[in-house]
Amino acid sequence: MDRRFIPAGVSRCSTAKFLLWLAPWAALLAFGLYSAGLCLVKGLNQTHMNNRFAFGLWIFLDLTVIALGAGAFFTGFLLYILKRKELRAVINSAVVIGLMCYGGAMAVLGVDVGQPLRAWFTFWYPNVHSMLTEVTFCISCYLTVLLIEYVPIVLKNRKLRQIPHFLVFQHELHKLVYVFAGVGTFLSFFHQGSLGGLYGVLRGRPFAFREELGIWPTTFFLFILSAAAVGPSFILLTTWLVQKISGKRLVRPQVLQSLGRISGLLLAAYVLLKTLDTLVWLNRTTPRSGFLPAQYYAWKPFGVWILAVEMALFLVPMVILLTPKLRARAGWLVSSAAMACCGVAVNRFVLTIQTLALPTLSFDRFLQYLPSWQETGTFLAVLAAAVLVYSISFRYFELFPEERELRREPSGRPETAPAMAGK
């Protein structure tokens, strides 16, 4: 019965099937909201964070999803600023993903603070020295931008565009899309950096502290780069996933490959700089602040292996994505994209969790931390919400403009065969 809302020229599953798909996610969301409610009502004693582990799963989640959500701004940047036209095929999807990542991050932050009623103080009494101020400002601004970018996607809906005002409005908005893309890009670059700075400035935590370039620690720039590098990979990954789950051809394989290639190039740059930074950090920064690099990795389970894994998770996909032959094979392409995403996750994990686990005082001890079910539940709520919103957007809005043409084209063309396998 919701046929008239579904975009023309594409096929979607039956309503019943769709609802069946939504149901488990809705349930998960409900559970997550309950957990979050507990944390808000009873206080943060519901979590397993403590005075030493002041940040936990949630901050790790925020940093990771925002890094992955970077796909939104970077694709926009490539499309509207650098005029990579082929990316028009994924931009809408990217916007939705970005919106959910950032929305989720903000929501979780709202639960994470002890006195949410005062959260707006940051805007009223900002401390210009604080990286967190930068983050808060940029993320909230960029979230607004994403919402504005999301509006035309909604208004393009077959039913809604029948209302003349909306049509006009979304047309007007569309003219501004370049402006928003520009603003969004600037904001995102900035807050991705600030998120990196968040830990890079902690001179009290030599494991996270980095040398300053200008007014920002090196992590500022590394985060921008890693986010930009992994963002496209994540778009690639999600698009592929959606194709698999929906069983439809949504974009031409070339699009995914070019995303992969961009990712690869940036990964190369990142790996280079990250290596450089690590060397400086171990040989200059750390000794200066009176610590021995060996001490960082003396504590089980976080041995040197974690550093190796982190680097490997960037290095391997870089190689694959920069090798046209491998890139052309969907399996390699997707798995390397997935690897890159894991890489960024590990990187964020190391900077948040490992930093806090390591002792600073000589007589202090290494700390373990496992999130409580309330924390995990809140985490899952973000995931569930993202899936729900994306599913609905996918069903009713035109997330992949190429989908219509691809339906008309005869499927199973040689070079696309692997990418579309199991359709």
């Binding site: 004693n45 005075n51 103080f121 604080s130 001179r203 021995l292 000589s362």
Partner: protein, 259 residues
């Protein structure tokens, strides 16, 4: 809101702690909690979720009996003088450093409980209110009116008994003075220590105990290489104990032991 004119007198309050004298009796910790209206621990509180503005640790030289030596080590906020980590990272100016006293102060009413400052503090001397503060029936009568009780979800820390600083200023005003006399402002832990291990004073006043300790070769500070200029000086005649302050020198702890 800072006015152009500098404070008439600039103090840098600091402490000198002789860890050879400390017997780890804990009187300072209790006096601190009493003075600053810190509630008794929630039944579920642990050494990681409790609130102790001042905490005494037991530190040993990593040897086994009979070569094992131990000291008791009082840790309060080290009142970093430069690049104050917590002050720099607080997103909404809930941490303030008083130019007149050098005291680093947490304003619970401004704090939103993001705990970034706790992640930033190398000394772990900041504590979060994980629970609503609760006093046994009747005990709220014993609260100190010079200190405001904190609510759930905010960070708090040692501020050198700032309430006593206010009180001392009032006593000065009573005598028509605008500056407080050195002996008149003494934090609760200093007053309570039966061994006289903790001393307090203005580092700008060369005759004060901390100023003298600062020049003593047997004195040391914690993690001084971080470059935050902590204002608490520890003193010990034992060479191994002096290495506590420098993680690259000190013996790394083995299994966690109490204290």
């Amino acid at each position: 809101m800072i006015s152009e004119r500098k404070p008439a007198k600039i103090c840098r309050y600091g402490m000198a702690v002789d860890i050879d004298k400390c017997t780890g009796c804990g009187a300072c910790m209790i006096a601190c909690a009493v003075e600053n209206n810190v509630p008794p621990g929630n039944p579920d509180a642990t050494d990681l979720t409790g609130i102790t503005w001042l905490r005494v640790f037991k530190v040993d030289n990593g040897e086994e009996y009979p070569r094992k030596e131990s000291v008791y080590f009082p840790m309060m906020c080290q009142q970093c003088g430069v690049e104050t980590p917590c002050y720099l990272v607080c997103p909404q100016q809930a941490v303030d450093v008083d130019p007149a006293t050098g005291i680093v102060f947490q304003m619970p009413e401004r704090c939103l409980g993001c705990r970034y400052c706790m992640a930033a503090c190398p000394y772990h001397s900041r504590y979060f209110n994980w629970w609503d503060p609760k006093w046994p029936a009747g005990m709220e009568k014993t609260l100190n009116p010079d200190v405001a009780p904190r609510m759930r979800g905010v960070v708090e820390k040692c501020n050198y008994c700032h309430g006593r600083w206010h009180a001392a200023r009032q006593r000065a005003a009573e005598a028509g003075e605008t500056e407080i006399s050195p002996g008149d402002y003494v934090p609760a832990c200093v007053e309570a220590c039966p061994a006289g291990a903790i001393q307090f004073g203005d580092l700008n006043d060369p005759t004060s105990a901390p100023a003298i300790a600062a020049k003593d070769p047997e004195s040391f500070r914690l993690l001084v290489k971080l470059g935050t200029d902590p204002k608490v000086y520890y003193h010990s005649k034992r060479e191994w104990a002096r290495r506590i302050g420098d993680p690259s020198q000190a013996p790394s702890p083995k299994e966690p032991s109490r204290g």
